[in-house]
Symmetry: C2
Subunit: 362 residues, 2 copies
């Protein structure tokens, strides 16, 4: 690797397999389907590993991502209110050869998807997106979920498959969040009861997020979960206490390019490779990633191509030209900034891997 | 544009031409060379417009960017301590057919570049990077600048061309920053005097940044400036008082995808298209961009593909499916997230433009 350029993402394949296997086993134990979110890796190869380990299907955020991921799997859930002309047309097109479902929170979206589906001669599955506490998207009550479900069941071109939620507001492990988890459960249960009384079925109840993944059995309403980050992990999940640094399968290799300013060193990774994302916990003090070889160092400022690292608490500073490794705060948007990553097989061999869905924001 | 996907970047070509012409005229008036930083647009076409308007050459942050920009111009300055094996080898290669200069702050970097240049049979120009207050990179005193200049002048394969500085710490217009500007001037002047007494010449003194661009004549030591953002502008330069919203030539078009949560609307642009970058001024309160049609709205939270907008101060909320336009806080890393942009000619015609150097972080 000596003459390969930096910054670059290194992915440890045995660790990836371990992370995938651990969640697959959890799913088997608790009879929960796993539908991994592919926004994290944006890689057809990684999606295939997840499916081979028993994932029931794949999740995508955007329709363009789903189209790429259709190379890996034939059952794709778009966890996004895809309601504009471009997206509805393309997801209906995808539904000609794949099982396609979409999570939506409005009659407008249902009507737009239904019209595109009818026009393409296909049926698209719909999950009612219900807000369980993040307050980003999602209908606001079990009663509103029922109303939307009834609208779906009356529409041609779409099929009511159930509900989805995204508990992105829960960022600490049990037992710190029992009230928040109980509230998720209660909202879903009430909606399911209303559906049942109205003669509708929520066959699928899809939850998600890597932080809450291993707490999912405390929400017995769920039939499946959609974690993404768990395949690689990052400092955000580490700082929340879910995994250790030894579980982080993706790291950056960077070169030290300046040590001119006292107490500091500068790496060749800035906001255009690491992103300005902070950690979920201690966002202000923890800096923009963890320097593996210099754990006392703090990445204090990122400009576009420079990462400034405060080394005053370190025993010594790295030398110019030295390579250091960084575990990013939030791996998902970092991966999206890179065209390729190096996949290490754990036995000293590396090969380039394309980030297939990089930049697919449509 | 009705069935084109969102989010997308729209660029107003007449406004681009005006922004370029205004700086070109300033340069002529004050006998300052303009060497635009191409990290902002990462576009060969935009670089050509800048050169046609009289720019003396181009600036790049990374060597990979410089290689792409060599299609537009034959004189390129890499304002980055490019000292690793991959970069020195590739910049020496580029120097076979182009005038290549690099800004460095260490003997280590000089030696690495000199060795690669000698091995390729070329000469690379070097500017001594001197810290004028940002404390990111740069030698720490005029005396250290002289020492590095002497080292360069004794080395084969490299040629001492002068000095560079980056006054990125100055973020407000005159007369708010007279002391900071005077200090930049004094540091450069002292170094130039030392060079002269030692029989060395600083033919080029390269300053930079869009925020300080139109204050450059207050630093009479400069022979050239390297602004980047000025071609498009963004809410950071607007919030600092340098330009108005009417000077922002690049904006996002987004679709409203959810209005389920009261007081809010959600756009289909999140951190994977807008970035988490805050404004230079009022970073905490101003949000993640300016919504043109709803100026009272605040983009309060970005997750990867969702932008949550607080609309409580707006007279009304946009409808589902409505397109709104956003001026980002920091246009440079946004452009880098997009594969293409739409170039509008001001007469109703749009054409796609590739972001040629997107993702070139090496």
């Amino acid at each position: 690797m000596l003459t390969t350029p930096t910054p670059a993402i290194l992915i440890d394949l045995p660790m990836v397999r371990r992370n995938i296997a651990r969640l697959a086993e959890y799913g088997l134990t608790h009879k929960l389907n796993i539908r991994p979110h592919t926004k994290t890796h944006k890689s057809i190869r990684m999606a295939r590993l997840q499916l081979e380990a028993g994932a029931i299907g794949l999740t995508a955020a955007k329709v363009s991502e789903a189209i790429t991921m259709a190379e890996a799997g034939d059952d794709i859930f778009i966890a996004y209110p895809a309601l504009d002309a471009w997206r509805t047309e393309h997801l209906a097109g995808l539904a000609k050869s794949r099982t396609v479902r979409v999570g939506v929170d409005s009659e407008f979206a249902v009507d737009a998807i239904a019209a595109a589906a009818r026009s393409a001669g296909v049926t698209v599955g719909i999950l009612v997106d219900i807000d369980v506490g993040l307050h980003r998207t999602g209908v606001q009550s079990p009663g509103d979920a029922l109303k939307l479900a009834q609208h779906i069941s009356r529409s041609g071109g779409v099929r009511l498959d159930g509900m989805m939620c995204y508990p992105g507001h829960i960022k600490a492990p049990l037992p710190e969040q029992p009230a928040a988890l109980a509230s998720v459960s209660q909202i879903l249960r009430e909606a399911m009861d209303l559906f049942e009384r109205a003669g509708l079925e929520a066959k699928m109840v899809s939850g998600g997020s890597s932080p809450t993944a291993y707490q999912s059995h405390h929400t017995p309403e769920l039939t499946e979960i959609r974690p993404g980050t768990y395949i690689y992990n990052d400092m955000s999940v580490v700082s929340c206490g879910y995994v250790g640094i030894e579980d982080c399968a993706a790291r950056f290799t960077c070169t030290v390019v300046s040590t001119a300013v006292p107490g500091k060193f500068v790496i060749d990774a800035g906001s255009k490779s690491l992103t300005q994302d902070l950690r979920s916990k201690d966002p202000q003090s923890a800096g923009f990633g963890h320097v593996v070889e210099y754990p006392q160092a703090i990445i204090t400022r990122l400009t576009e191509e420079h990462g400034e690292v405060d080394a005053r608490q370190c025993e010594h500073r790295p030398k110019l030209g030295e390579r250091v490794h960084i575990i990013p705060n939030h791996i998902c948007p970092c991966i999206n900034l890179h065209t390729m990553a190096w996949l290490n097989d754990g036995e000293g061999h590396s090969e380039p891997m394309t980030i297939d869905a990089r930049g697919q924001i449509w």
